[in-house]
């Protein structure tokens, strides 16, 4: 005989089992008098339990709802201002102010120019460029490649 379907007896009585499970339990009950007796006892027990548990003391439902309302109001008052829903106009104003601050702050940053990075400072110290400011100021001339290419010509023109 298969194992006793103890856990399945309550769902069986309630008609919750799948057809295959129901068939399996029903077949077992036909063969097993102990489980058959258990099933009958469970049926009686479930029927009696509702009476055994009984009913709670009566309540005035109007008073119950009034108390509930009071508790809800008290709970709302306890909620901090930071958790309360913010009106739409106030939220929009706050968002606008934050946006303005972000734009203004960005402009100020771009005006101050790019800060010199630590790598650039090290390179400056390495080559001693910053020691001769005149050379540095004239370095932009070297960027004009046309001038560089025709330096000889320019020199002869100047002499002639």
């Amino acid at each position: 005989m298969a194992r006793h379907p103890d856990d399945d007896l309550v769902p069986y009585l309630r008609g919750e089992l799948s057809p295959a499970e129901r068939e399996r339990v029903a077949r077992h009950l036909e063969e097993c008098p102990d489980c058959r007796q258990d099933t009958e006892l469970l049926r009686d027990l479930l029927g009696n339990l509702a009476h055994a548990i009984g009913q709670p003391p009566a309540v005035s439902w109007a008073r119950y709802r009034a108390e509930l309302r009071d508790k809800l109001d008290a709970r709302r008052q306890r909620i901090g201002w930071w958790r309360r829903p913010m009106p739409l106009a106030l939220s929009a104003s706050l968002a606008g102010v934050l946006l303005l601050l972000a734009v203004w702050g960005g402009r100020e940053l771009s005006r101050s120019g790019d800060p010199i990075g630590p790598d650039e400072v090290v390179m400056g110290q390495e080559f001693g460029l910053l020691q001769d400011l005149r050379t540095v100021e004239r370095l932009d001339l070297l960027e004009d490649l046309e001038v560089l290419r025709n330096l000889d010509g320019l020199a002869s023109e100047h002499q002639g």
Partner: protein
């Protein structure tokens, strides 16, 4: 046609107070009765069931409609009841629960006369013993039995309320009923 519980819950999420009042009216009796069945104290049952409605009011937006409203609400309620029992367990060790609505009288606590066949067969006595045996069940077993017997809930729904598998609910029910059966058989 009356609006469904699920539709009312959606309206509560949009702060519709009339929908909330309607849900309270529909569930107040069942919530109070179930809380009382678990806690066995009228005042606690009233407080805890009202707290469940307050949570419903606050959390209606989190109801996704994946289960029935009743299952979702009972989960809130049963969790509150089990938490309440857990928190007050230590206190009851010190103070006898004098206002317990089902507290036994001194007479009840006397051993029953063994040779009295009339008492032995008394249905009322059996039911009383059964009721006391339900009180002594482990909290989750008791909740499973009460949801089955009082709320006529299916195993699937009980599993969702207790956040466990259907197999676990079947085991809870089997063990609880086996204990209760012994109580009946003793008498």
């Amino acid at each position: 046609m009356e609006p469904a519980d699920e539709a009312l819950c959606e309206r509560v999420a949009r702060r519709d107070e009339a929908a909330f009042d309607l849900l309270v009216s529909r569930y107040q009796e069942r919530a109070y009765r179930l809380a009382w069945s678990i806690l066995r104290n009228a005042e606690d049952a009233r407080d805890v069931s009202q707290e469940a409605f307050i949570r419903l009011h606050e959390m209606a937006g989190s109801f996704r409609g994946r289960s029935k409203f009743s299952t979702w609400f009972y989960r809130i309620l049963v969790n509150l009841c089990l938490d309440h029992k857990r928190k007050h367990k230590w206190w009851k060790l010190w103070v006898r629960d004098d206002d317990d609505d089902r507290a036994e009288t001194i007479l009840d606590r006397q051993p029953a006369p063994v040779n009295d066949p009339v008492d032995k067969l008394s249905r009322d006595e059996t039911l009383k013993a059964l009721g006391s045996a339900v009180d002594r069940l482990a909290p989750r077993q008791r909740a499973a039995v009460l949801l089955r017997v009082q709320e006529d809930m299916a195993t699937y729904d009980i599993a969702r309320v207790l956040k466990c598998s259907e197999a676990t609910v079947r085991v809870h029910l089997h063990r609880a009923l086996a204990t209760l059966k012994k109580t009946v058989e003793k008498r």
